[in-house]
Symmetry: C2
């Protein structure tokens, strides 16, 4: 069902990063569901995490560990179980499984970050995971990015990953990222799970800045269903294998590397929407002429999350009355309908609050029949702008989520 999305070609290895997978039968047997990513010494890691108050145990542990140090040596990821709402026992499970990785790699337990995705409210199968970790570590390989992307999938239908190679003053830098997630997606500060690595030599502050800025323009601009996961995590590792001089945020090389990181994040975030549960349309929403970016995003999310807009798009019905409704309900104080304009791609629906005389339903329907199109809104209030990505709402969405656990 994914919209114009296929599994990535060969993802580029990143110097200083090795990946290994194993089967721990976390939800059920028969697939790889455990991933270890190991980093060479000198690597620096930054992360952003869910704003959900019920942050999962691994998110709590990641926050605690990244507060103490950016010198991280490994990520441990499991699919099939979110380790969320699992109380103190869940924290113990996250500590024990990441300690098993530390022991296999010979680093401190605090240098391992755990990540989980899957069903909420069930304890991890701690023993099966610790038993599987040594074989994942034994399999560590710098060329295993594609198999890693497949290992972290849950209800994803397509593995998600992308690479960029850019030239800096200190040499060629590679950025590779993988992500998973198709539902419970309206990330605030991070998405379900995103893992990005680069061999650039960035200062800890630059790693953090590059990640936050990229996430803000990518994962924080998508919504599938308005629901924010308890496990959203996005982490960036810079292994410092290219060059000899640390790159900080003011440097020219920073701009080059940060742009590549941003491109990777945008492609991954869009992949999550393209593979959104039941998606048949990939929809860009551009809100312009707003008084502030916050206001533009508010209107964009009101449109993107309206079940009535999303079902109309599924039907290929340019029911722009529902777009009008969504703009109107967004809660923008003092919004003047007589200044609002709406376009579907380049077809004008509403101009200064009035239906456009040249508009006919067939013109709108022709746009909405496309698998990808843009809803453009002008608020007539200022110069601020925001862009979001979302998908439609289909029978399949209900089917997937009504049958998820059965």
């Amino acid at each position: 069902m994914a919209v114009n999305l296929s599994a990535p070609e060969k993802l580029l290895p990143v110097a200083g990063v090795r990946l290994g997978v194993a089967e721990a039968a976390i939800k059920k047997p028969g697939r790889n569901d455990l991933l270890v990513v190991a980093f060479d010494e000198g690597s620096r890691v930054a992360g952003v995490f869910t704003q959900n108050a019920f942050a999962a145990a691994p998110v709590q542990l990641c926050r605690e560990r990244l507060k103490a140090t950016s010198v991280i040596r490994a990520w441990l990821v499991n699919a099939g179980n979110a380790n969320a709402a699992t109380g103190d026992g869940g924290l113990d499970d996250a500590r024990a499984t990441s300690a098993a990785v530390a022991s296999a790699l010979g680093c401190a337990p605090e240098q391992v970050l755990p990540f989980s995705t899957g069903v909420i409210g069930q304890r991890l199968p701690r023993e099966r995971m610790t038993a599987a970790i040594p074989s994942a570590v034994a399999a560590l390989d710098s060329a295993a990015w594609n198999v890693a992307a497949a290992t972290i999938m849950t209800t994803d239908t397509v593995a998600k990953g992308t690479s960029r190679r850019v030239t800096t003053a200190q040499g060629e830098v590679t950025v590779t990222g993988i992500a998973k997630g198709v539902g419970m997606i309206e990330p605030h500060m991070a998405t379900m799970l995103g893992f990005i690595a680069t061999d650039a030599r960035l200062t800890p502050a630059a790693v953090d800045a590059a990640l936050r800025s990229a996430v803000d323009d990518s994962f924080n601009c998508v919504t599938v269903d308005s629901d924010t996961s308890t496990n959203d995590s996005c982490v960036l590792c810079a292994t410092a294998r290219v060059g000899t001089r640390d790159v900080d945020t003011g440097d020219a090389d920073y701009a080059i590397v940060a742009a590549a990181i941003r491109e990777v994040c945008v492609e991954l975030a869009q992949a999550i929407v393209r593979d959104g549960e039941g998606a048949t349309r990939f929809i860009t929403i551009e809100v312009g002429d707003a008084a502030s970016v916050a206001e533009a995003r508010q209107v964009g999310y009101a449109i993107a999350n309206s079940p009535l807009v999303k079902t109309a798009m599924f039907a290929g019905d340019a029911n722009w009355g529902r777009i009008v409704m969504a703009i109107g309900k967004a809660g923008v104080a003092g919004l003047d309908p007589a200044r609002v304009g709406i376009l579907l791609d380049d077809v004008v629906l509403l101009e200064r609050g009035q239906p456009h005389p040249d508009y006919h339903e067939q013109r709108g329907a022709a746009v909405v029949a496309r698998p990808e199109f843009t809803i453009r809104v002008s608020l007539g209030r200022g110069a601020a702008h925001a862009r979001l990505w979302t998908c439609d709402f289909s029978y399949e969405y209900v089917k997937i989520n009504a049958e998820y656990r059965t």
Copy 2:
């Protein structure tokens, strides 16, 4: 599909109120789709209207006319066309059709309030409506409440109405109300369309106070799909036919009549949810121990509008992890998960943030299999409380909204 809802038995006439319907073929021919409600002299009317910035033309006209006077003589209601996002032409249509009612009744045009419901963005068939109005006026009858309730339906599957009779110091008072609406339902200040009348002799201030208070506890506590219509309107007419002394908000009789009005509004609001598009479950959400009512409602709406919670309820799956997620994403600052409790009816799922040891999936599934149940949340922060009503999210919801215009 409606959950435990059938069309009302004989609704009680209200002294001073007569109703007449006609066929104006507004969307298509073959059904009554136009309603006139006429009031005797001395009646007082109050109204509450949508907070959507794109308020429909009839809503704009109602606001303007009620600002000038509470002495209203008629309501004109049409189904099949919302007269929203129709620009200046739409305002002209609303003025012309309500003027036709005024002319047939012999009152001033400003004493007629227009209401429209249906598709957004299309002009009203003004000529067919003005042609049909005289036959609706000729049919005026105090016993026509049931046929009126059927006339204002759009995608409603069941007509909605209810009556109460209470005894006051000045005599027996009747309250009868009708409503319509099954989608685009998360009213703010009023719902799609609600019409309530009483023969009590209330001061204009008392009419207004009784309506606002009742709506706040009824129509403002329901959500089907989180979408707020451009046409939400709820009006109350008090015809002053019972007694000789005006009843104001401090009087004992006010409390009696206001309670009956509230009961009518709650039953109508619940009927809208029971008939919610594609609904198979009627769900009450109670959020208690909150720091404020606003915070309790915020959490309640986050649960009620979560597509993941709603699809799990449709599946009869007590997937309480999704309830946890929804509470966590509600944005309550400083929420402590370790103090949160969740029950399904009387089955404890989560206690002080930990899964309850006695909980088994079968116990939750048994509750969620019921057509009506309550999700109870304790936030452990204070003494405030809120109660909302919502429905589940089914294949049928998508079908109804993807095929609405075709």
